[in-house]
Amino acid sequence: MSDALFEFACRMGDNTLVLGHRVSEWCGVAPVLEEDIALANTALDLIGQTQLWLGLAGEVEGKGRDADALAFRRDVWDFRNVLLVEQPNGDFGHTMLRQFLFDAWHLECLKGLIGSSHDQVAAIAEKSSKEVTYHLERSSDTVIGLGDGTEESHARMQKALDRLWPFVGEMFVSDDVDAAMIAQGTAPDSAGLRAPFDARLSDVLGEATLVPPEDDFTHKGGKSGVRHSEHLGHMLAQMQWLQRAYPDATW
């Protein structure tokens, strides 16, 4: 029972950790100063949420690992984030479309978790949902602005949507961990988040004049940890090298 909760907290925390790191890669190189600051804020929000989720995971596991140990001392196969968030940034539009797809799922998920029977889960969801409401507002606006923008920006956004679409389905796959979480009243069913997600998606993509591909094939293996894409290892090498080279380094 606590195994499932550990697994669940790692999924939440690894999603925000990996996406937070990806978004932080824009720091200093975003197209304009204002977007640079906004992206850095988003990344910091996500890393802050990571501390809470992985902190909870470490507590539940009870083996003395804290959020830092989980973030910096695990290798690719122990990560439980969905494949969507580990995909490389691409151009700015690609990054914002990935952000929108994740935010739209994330907010529905957190809304469900606010009513969790587990106090800590409910508290983390309550705090995070305020931040994520803003993330979603911002990424939706940018997707609409660029999708319904110039010929160039529209083409880039459509290309990004075509590229990222096969990673959307994984967020709504239910498995044994979900079943255990539902049974305990800790979390809502992942599959049940699809309908509100689709409703929001069709609103925003409609305004953005973007069309999702018809094929609903989906890559899987991130959230179960069975098969991450080749990109995660490279990202972790960058993110973890210091703690790997100098364990317990402090300043």
Partner: protein, 114 residues
């Protein structure tokens, strides 16, 4: 070593004041009210494609440490400003009219911010 001759921007055409190059977002001035009861204060400026994004950008750039309860943005080109050359005629006449300054009153603490 930054003499005008060696400037990397020597061949770059400067933007006319108040105008925007096509590829650049317009400039917005940002005003933030820190607390209820106080007035909005100018905190700085930023670039954004429209008013809505200007408010969002202002939230990210200027209210990161819980500074504000309300944000105003106005496109910089819409601000009419006095010109520095008129300084004399605009402001100096009040210099010798000491009775216009409320320095002869004690303001009770209970009044708060004026």
């Amino acid at each position: 070593m930054s003499s005008p001759e060696t400037s990397p921007y020597a061949d770059t055409k400067a933007t006319e004041h108040g105008e925007t190059r096509k590829t650049e977002w317009p400039l917005w001035e940002v005003f933030i009210r820190g607390q209820h009861g106080l007035s909005h204060r100018h905190v700085g400026s930023l670039h954004a494609p429209d008013a809505e994004m200007a408010i969002k950008n202002a939230r990210d750039v200027y209210t990161r440490r819980n500074e504000g309860v309300s944000i105003w943005v106005v496109e910089a080109v819409h601000i009419a400003a006095s010109s520095p050359e008129e300084k004399g005629s605009l402001y100096e006449p009040s210099n010798d009219k000491v009775y216009r300054h409320p320095t002869f009153f004690d303001i009770p603490d209970e009044v708060g911010a004026m």
